[in-house]
Symmetry: C2
Subunit: 465 residues, 2 copies
């Protein structure tokens, strides 16, 4: 029996405890967005502090301008060992609307799902479940060997769900203490329940709000129609030109700097056999949008988008009101890919809209979020180890996938610490993260835990130990 096999046997023996610890953590309603839960956030940090301390980590709870950060270190076998920085978050999304939950969001229950038993609770996957997987892997190593096979730094923050407003300053102030060879993050998904995946690209985002003002007050459309500027007419005209007939975004310079994906990735993605038609049918649609000359997975993972996330103005009630509104507005976001500069996109969008507005329209632009796209190198010993760990756990090749969403911290770590991230996630498409009845399948939790056991062992040289 190799050392890894011994630790995996210990993981089996400790399975009950790992699930129980995860469920206990879920009972703490650590909702970072809601000030009433500030004490719960601290309790969730305290919970994980104790867990890490019990495994021989040096742990501290560090104050920030917001929720505290848990920072922990384990020297492992010593200075020559690889040094991994595990990142996660203990805060969760608000559970509302409560009426849509089958069971109370902070009373985790195990129910039957399509893949066997699953835990249902707010944070079940995102991110307490995924963090609990690697805490469980640490525990298995600790219980089996009394130590860790690599050097570890653990950073668990409490404001990810509100945009991590205090994390960059924290990383900047503690860069030396956070030095490591690679970051490990479990906050993404598998390809499907049987196919493990390493996420190697993330889209970035620029999120903007446009507020338009026309006349100084609401007007009667009979008295003023044909003379007075209608801000809703102006807004729809400006935003209605964002795409051409081929799905290309018309903001000047929008595609500047974007490279096509590598042949290796293109081949990987083609091999996934993604059925876009089935994906669309599930949400009541038939025909994809986006660039007509790109494959579905390119459009979802490697090409930028422009989506109006909200729009408002004038009369929205029942029946008719003949009003020319004074104001209108919209929220518009662009998913970005590597090569695109968020600031340039924001400026380009503003210029694009202004050029399409009639004289006299007063427009205000607000940037509500900004992060570049990230592409992670697919070579190197860490990526190889992560893929091997997952492939062996699942007896199936770990695929490399993209993620259409954004995890801004990945870019922050690269920029501020100079290190890449391994995105080893085990969520499934139906895990309902951010929605009622959030859940995490036990089969995913166990596969994730074992994948982390193997990753630690491989990097610690325990392959044949």
């Amino acid at each position: 029996m190799t050392q890894i096999e011994a630790v995996l046997a210990q993981a089996d023996a400790g399975d009950d405890r790992a699930v129980r610890t995860w469920m206990d953590w879920l009972r703490i309603p650590s909702v970072s967005a809601q000030p009433a839960h500030a004490a719960d956030c601290r309790a969730a940090a305290e919970f994980v502090r104790a867990e890490l301390a019990a495994m021989g980590f040096e742990v501290s709870i560090r104050e920030t301008a917001g929720q505290p950060v848990v920072l922990a270190h384990h020297a492992g076998p010593g200075e020559d060992a690889p040094h991994l920085l595990y990142y996660g978050h203990y805060d969760v999304q608000p559970p509302e609307p409560l009426a849509l939950w089958t069971s109370p969001p902070f009373e985790p229950v195990v129910v039957d799902g399509p893949n066997g038993p699953r835990v249902v609770a707010r944070g079940a996957t995102d991110d307490k479940g995924q963090v609990s997987m690697w805490l469980g892997a640490f525990r298995a190593w600790f219980d089996a060997t009394g130590t860790m096979p690599v050097r570890l730094t653990v950073l668990i923050e409490g404001e990810e769900e509100i945009g991590s407003p205090n994390l960059e300053p924290f990383v900047a102030a503690n860069a030396a203490e956070l030095a490591a060879d690679i970051v490990v993050i479990s906050d993404t998904g598998m390809w499907d329940v049987r196919t493990p995946a390493l996420t190697t690209s993330l889209r970035g985002m620029v999120y903007m709000q446009v507020d338009l003002r026309g006349p100084s007050r609401d007007l009667h459309s009979g008295s003023f129609g044909g003379s007075a500027l209608n801000p809703i007419n102006a807004l729809t005209h400006a935003l209605g030109g964002l795409h051409d007939a081929a799905g290309r975004i018309q903001v000047p310079g929008f595609y500047d700097g974007i490279a096509d994906i590598s042949p290796e990735l293109a081949q990987q993605w083609d091999g996934l056999g993604f059925d876009e038609g089935a994906s669309l049918r599930e949400i009541g649609l038939t025909t994809p949008v986006g660039e007509t000359d790109r494959t579905a997975l390119e459009r979802l993972w490697a090409r930028p988008t422009a989506d109006i996330n909200g729009i408002w103005g004038g009369y929205q009630g029942a029946g008719s009101k003949t009003v020319i509104a004074s104001e209108a507005g919209a929220k518009v976001s662009f998913r970005l890919v590597p090569g695109q500069d968020p600031q340039a996109i924001a400026a380009g969008f503003e210029a694009f809209v202004r050029a399409r507005l009639p004289e006299g329209a007063q427009a205000r632009f607000t940037v509500l979020g900004s992060a570049p796209g990230v592409e992670i190198a697919t070579d190197g010993i860490f990526v190889a180890a992560a893929r091997d760990a997952m492939s062996e756990t699942y007896s199936k090749d770990c695929v490399m996938i993209g993620c259409g969403g954004s995890i801004p911290i990945v870019e922050s770590f690269r920029r501020m610490l100079g290190i890449d991230s391994l995105l080893m996630g085990f969520g499934l498409a139906d895990c309902q993260a951010h929605s009622p009845d959030e859940n995490f399948d036990l089969v995913c939790f166990r596969g994730g835990l074992r994948s982390h056991v193997r990753l630690l062992g491989k990097l610690g040289g325990s392959e044949n130990g």
Copy 2:
């Protein structure tokens, strides 16, 4: 002293009573839109019934499916006399928002305004004030002569402010009883406080709602952006193409059937010296919209428009939400001019939008209102009498103007009874109809009352009586 001069002297003597009667009527909160005010609507009808009965009219209150109609007849000098059908309404707009009123909306007060004393109350102008003018004129004729100089039918409805849903059936069922030579309506405005006006054109309207459905549920824009149809993107694209750069509306066939205004009207309108820049400055604007090759008054009175009156979809709150909404919608209205067929415009708009929607977008179109534009002949004895009556009252030529808004009943009377309307209105631009602090200047009330005294006298042959 001519007979008209005698009646005008009687009007002077009866001025206090006329104003008091008007103010008493304003105390009845006859809000047709609010079911709680049903009894008040009936009381307002009863009030005017008594007033007409006291002047020798045969009056009845006729039930409808909604608020009752007051219908009254006076034989005047007999069958050879001209027969006028006076139309007005006793219902008023809801007074809300109450907090914006300087005094309670149903406690009329006389305050100082820019043109001397004015009455402030809901309905002060629209339409109790304007109806009270002609009731006052009837009273002057009755008190001075014991009868009316012409045959009169009076129709006062109680649902004008909710779109007169029961009036057309009533007119159809009582067409014989409503037979007359001309309709007289006071529900429009003067050119300015010193310049009386006959309104000879009204724009019509088609008011539509578009409801668009994309995916069957709200989606995460990271997971689905680039594949899933975004109904807000689709809606802005469809509606954003309504106008070209020259302000022309792009619905196919939109301008079919429209004739230019007559040289006589064009000359009248040019002579008004309308200062569009000043009108726009007052509402915080600088540059007119609409067709660039038309004059301001053409654009306001004689050219059709397309205005989005409301739009909605997705996230409208603070901050950002990365959602692709399931639904979006808009209210779009077209002001129409004579020659345009409302049904064809509605169908053309639907076809225009559908042609610009991506495959898979499900659109529902609802017509919320429909009425053609109306142009009233500017020749004939009735128009001449009305213009003369107003010109003499004000010692200033009565001008012929257009109205950008709609009074659908004018087209109904023409279509169902075969008769035109004299639109003799005395409201001013700042009368705040439909808004808080609705008001009517006493100088306008008195000028209107005297104009109606003269009109009745002229048509009754009392010019030199």
